[in-house]
């Protein structure tokens, strides 16, 4: 009988979380509904003029995606913390940051991927042209994993703390600003005809940076929460 390696442990974590999400599909679908509602609120608030919508579209859609991710952060660690699964995870013979990557990946599949898939429809609602819509989806594809990784740090810091819903927002939003700027900037540049490569590469850089550092910070925060 062999001890599982890091990869097996990571897959095990992902598999369990995805299975759990399947059992509570409506819970998992909430970020998507939220995204759609928020994205629809802006035209209602601002007026349906196509030129205005096209200008605010990239920003609004990115902010909505960001907020949807924020709202779903509660599901990353809280349930595991409350039922004791988290402390068991810390006591596994695999590095905790690896397991964190697994949890965050599962969270991204559940909360981030639907946002990416839905974004073209919402982009069209805001009058974005074909290329801009593609850039929007691509920027979200690169950006939402980063949002999940950074958000996990905040989620871990506030585990079990009262008022954690608002507190995590306050902690995490300053950290989200660069991703927002590059993401919305990518779509805006595409609309302006300037080309989105620069912004997209910066988004990629953010993703790589967060993949290297966020799991360590999250693991440290989890250990602190469990003391």
């Amino acid at each position: 009988m062999t001890r599982p390696g890091m990869w097996d442990a990571l897959c095990g974590v992902v598999r369990r979380d995805l299975l759990l999400a399947m059992r509570r599909r409506s819970d998992a679908a909430m970020p998507v509904f939220f995204l759609v509602i928020v994205a629809s609120l802006f035209p209602l608030g601002v007026g349906p003029e196509p030129a205005v919508l096209r200008t605010i579209g990239p920003g609004v859609l990115w902010v909505a995606a960001l907020l949807a991710c924020l709202l779903s952060l509660g599901r990353v660690f809280t349930a595991d913390y409350l039922d004791g699964v988290l402390e068991q995870m810390v006591l596994i013979a695999q590095p905790l940051p690896v397991l964190v990557v697994g949890k965050v990946f599962a969270h991204w599949v559940i909360a981030g991927v639907p946002v990416v898939l839905l974004s073209p429809l919402l982009g069209l609602q805001f009058g974005l042209d074909g290329e801009a819509v593609a850039v929007l989806a691509l920027s979200l594809l690169l950006g939402t994993p980063t949002l999940s990784m950074i958000g996990a740090i905040g989620a871990a810091l506030v585990l079990g703390v009262r008022g954690s819903g608002l507190l995590v927002a306050l902690l995490v939003l300053p950290l989200y600003v660069p991703v927002l700027i590059f993401g919305a900037g990518a779509v805006a540049s595409s609309l302006a005809g300037v080309g989105a490569e620069a912004n997209l590469s910066l988004l990629g850089a953010c993703l790589v940076l967060s993949l290297f550092f966020a799991p360590w910070a999250t693991a440290a925060a989890l250990r602190i929460a469990l003391e």
């Binding site: 097996d8 759990l20 059992r23 004791g84 068991q88 013979a93």
Partner: protein, 197 residues
């Protein structure tokens, strides 16, 4: 320390293989904190926990590979069935985890086959505790740290768990058990640690 209150100090204890350390004391005397210090989840204010001569805080994952911890919380997901729960957790900890073995373990702790495929949330407290304890039948780790394992258990299940602990000890394993009940094991394998709160 718990919330700035010193719980206990000057504890010096050694646990040999094949023996069990029973940690007893009043409520609030720090038994759970003591056990958590042994798992390394809680760092001691002063002093160290040594496993085979080395500080567990240095060993980290190497120590975890030797450890099975069952705390107050069951560590069981309500939305999964007992089988799914154990397959997932045993898979992560490196214990045996094939479906027949898992079912055997669940039966050994007193859970009939009929409940194996029900979502854990419909089971009673005692049944859920038994799902958590079923890990003891799958565990291949020498160090067992158990926090009040007999809570919510009836006499029959308590006997089953005690028997399992005994065979673990006979096999050369060791156990530290926080309990406020007497553990029905021969006194030559039991060492008692009483914490005064």
């Amino acid at each position: 320390m718990r919330g700035e209150r010193r719980l206990f100090s000057d504890v010096n204890v050694k646990v040999e293989p094949g023996t069990l350390l029973a940690v007893v004391g009043e409520n609030g005397s720090g038994k759970t904190s003591f056990l958590r210090i042994l798992t390394s989840l809680l760092p001691p204010e002063e002093g160290a926990v040594l496993w085979q001569g080395q500080d567990i805080r240095q060993l980290k994952e190497q120590y975890y590979a030797q450890l099975t911890y069952i705390g107050h919380l069951n560590g069981v997901k309500d939305d999964l069935t007992p089988i799914e729960n154990l397959m997932a957790s045993a898979g992560l900890t490196g214990d045996q985890h094939s479906s027949p073995l898992v079912q055997e373990a669940l039966e050994s702790v007193g859970l009939k086959r009929t409940v194996h495929r029900l979502p854990t949330k419909v089971l009673s407290q005692g049944q859920r505790r038994r799902v958590a304890l079923a890990r003891l039948w799958l565990s291949t780790h020498p160090v067992w740290l158990l926090d009040e394992p007999f809570t919510s258990l009836d006499t029959a299940s308590t006997a089953l768990v005690t028997e399992r602990v005994q065979s673990h000890l006979r096999g050369g394993g060791l156990a530290v058990v926080v309990t406020h009940q007497e553990v029905a094991l021969p006194s030559d394998v039991i060492q008692r640690l009483r914490l005064n709160g």
